[in-house]
Amino acid sequence: MTASAFLSQLLQLGVALLLAPLLAGWVSQCRAWLQNKSAPSLLLPYRTIHKLFIKDAVVAHNASPIFRVAPYIVFGAMCCAAAIVPSLSTGLPFAQAADTIALVGLFALARVFIALAAMDIGTAFGSLGARREMFVGFLAEPALLMVLFTASLISGSTSLPTIVDSLAHRDLAIYPSLAFAGVAFTMVSLAENARIPVDNPATHLELTMIHEAMILEYSARHLALIEWASALKLFNYSCIGIAIFVPFGIAAGSDDWAAILGAAPALAAKLAIGGFVLALIETLSAKMRIFRAPEFLGTAFLLAVLAMLVHLLLGT
């Protein structure tokens, strides 16, 4: 591994860690605007995380070590994911160790631990949230895998940097299969990031929560890590979407530092547009009844399979 590749890896990890709360802030700001409300500060997520880090943690008496380590595992898993998703350049030496299937595994690992931690305390809401989370998760993961397989079939590799290299740096071609996959990916992302119409990140109704119900018992640094990890997850999903569907502008390799730095404005623009679209979807839809989630994610899976079939039939 060259020093340049190492630096590129480090830069992209740093960008993900630092920009993730900003993206979350941007989405809430867009949401507020679209609802004719005055928006909270763009920097509010940073302030929240900072506030939580300096508070004293309160942990339930009957909490087992799982409850204590879960935030670190979740945060760690999201950092690892960020290290294998290209945001600025495809020069990611770490990505050789883990492909897209491992990426889905990392998300699953985080999910399992947060659900275990939720059940660990034994409160009614924790178990309720954990149960719903696994319910949504087992429907969303196959659809996500299918989307990633479609992209892998096109580029002949399951490694994200290779996918980006082959999609971004060849002659412009229209892939009908990617259109199907794009819709499926959007639906999966909404479900996986606890967004309307599957979950409501802004709710205070404990009986309707999914993600929020699982983290009700967390406070201070633990909660800060979970909030940060949630922001990172949204950032990772956005970057996966960008990498597969609009990879143009991402630098190839880690040698051309002008191109890597030049990719930054493109990334910012794409994230801003993506965040706005997310806020728009959330404003326009109502939260669906939880038993509509199988239909919703079933549709996503179907579209992802269609994408793959289209690719196999058309050969593009």
Binding site: A124, L205, L207, T208, S285, A286, K287, R289
Partner: protein, 514 residues
Amino acid sequence: MNVAPLGLAAAPLPGTLPAQRVPVGAGQLLTACHLARERGGRLAALWASDERDLARGFLLRVALQDADGLTVLELTLPDAEARYPDVAAIFPAANRMQRAAFDLVGVAADADDQRPWLWLASWPIDRFPLQRDFEASPKWAPGQEEYTFVRVAGDGVHEIPVGPVHAGIIEPGHFRFQIVGEKVLRLEERLGYVHKGIEKRFEALGVADGARLAGRVSGDSTVAYAWAYAQAAEAVAGVTPPPRAAWLRALALERERIANHLGDLGYLGNDGGFAFGLAQFSRLKEELLRANHAALGHRMLMDWIVPGGVARDLDPEHGRAMAAEARRLAREVQVLRGIYDEHAGLQDRFRNCGRVPTDRARQLGLCGMPARASGIAHDLRCDLPEAPYDLLQVRRAGQTGGDVAARVAVRFDELLESLRLVTVILEAMPDGPVATPWSPPSRAGYALGAVEGWRGPVLVALDCAAGGGIRRCHPQDPSWSNWPVLEHAVIGDIVPDFPLINKSFNLSYSGHDL
């Protein structure tokens, strides 16, 4: 209700409200209740008072409402040990009222369910706050309360306790769910966490001061309570408020209805995950409340209705502004109604959710706004119209679906009707004084006041002592009848739909816990 066939003698109560009192014996109490039930009447209220200082033991009062008006059955109990027959077998809503009557006064029904209702161990269990010798001042150390919830047994059944402290800023109440998966098998409520001793406090006040307290029984219905109280106080004193005051009171009551429906429609959207609705309806509600403040001095119109009339007149300039506002609001509400009605996701949440079919509603005694969504078109403004409603010809809302969608539709219908009424009232309101000089009644007397608030019929029973003091005042919120129906509305629905169903009723905690 004509009680002559039962061999009972009725004495009319003072005031314009068609109401009568009927002394009954224990057996006659049940016969009279049966008769009312057969005639389609409902249990309006049940309460007790300590009359031992007048050597009359305890007095149990049961207020029934039917098409002819209100009938108060009065049963004298010689002492606290004497049990009265269980009315809950005829009117299920009586169950909690009877338990509350025991907690506060110490007279029990001859019923199986003897669990406390308003008692939460904040005073000793063998003391009863509404007995005349109970001292309100001592501080009691909080005790331990054990409440037996009904549990459902079976494979995969588990229990979720919710509240009384909630994740959002709402009033406290405890809800015990028995669920399998996400499906609700049973819900049991436990209320009483905001018991403030309002009835005890009334007894220390004069009739004039009581008006302020009555306006604070449930803040969102302050106009309805203040009007019902003023009605009763004026009836005892034999005073009739001037015509303009009655019209102004109706204006306030309709504006209260508009404000609450606006707020709740916003929250109904929000609980369905449609935050856009909340932002829009909150904006409209806020404009209305600010107009209230500018024109009449208080956002919620608290303390504006006083016995004898209203506290200050509405000047013509604000009147014109209110009329223009009502027309503009009606346009905006129509647009928002279109958005709600055509939003597939929102309608999917509203439809078939929290259904109360008509027969179930009738059986359980559902009243007010949710009853009108379940095919029971009772509305005091039409059924027993007081001035000026006798001239206004209110179009009563009516839906038969009984689900959240029907309650949303009733709210929209009533909201638009109230906006129409506001413009009619502002046009047709007569000129003249807004208050009749009023002094507290010097002789003892007893009267009822009943007003159709936005939630449903609000009843105030006022018993005045000689000399202008309050002997006993019992305010009855429609929530007493509707809380038990909520338990039935959620059966078979899924847990995440409960907040939406609950909000579609939006019952009062404060008005219920007293």
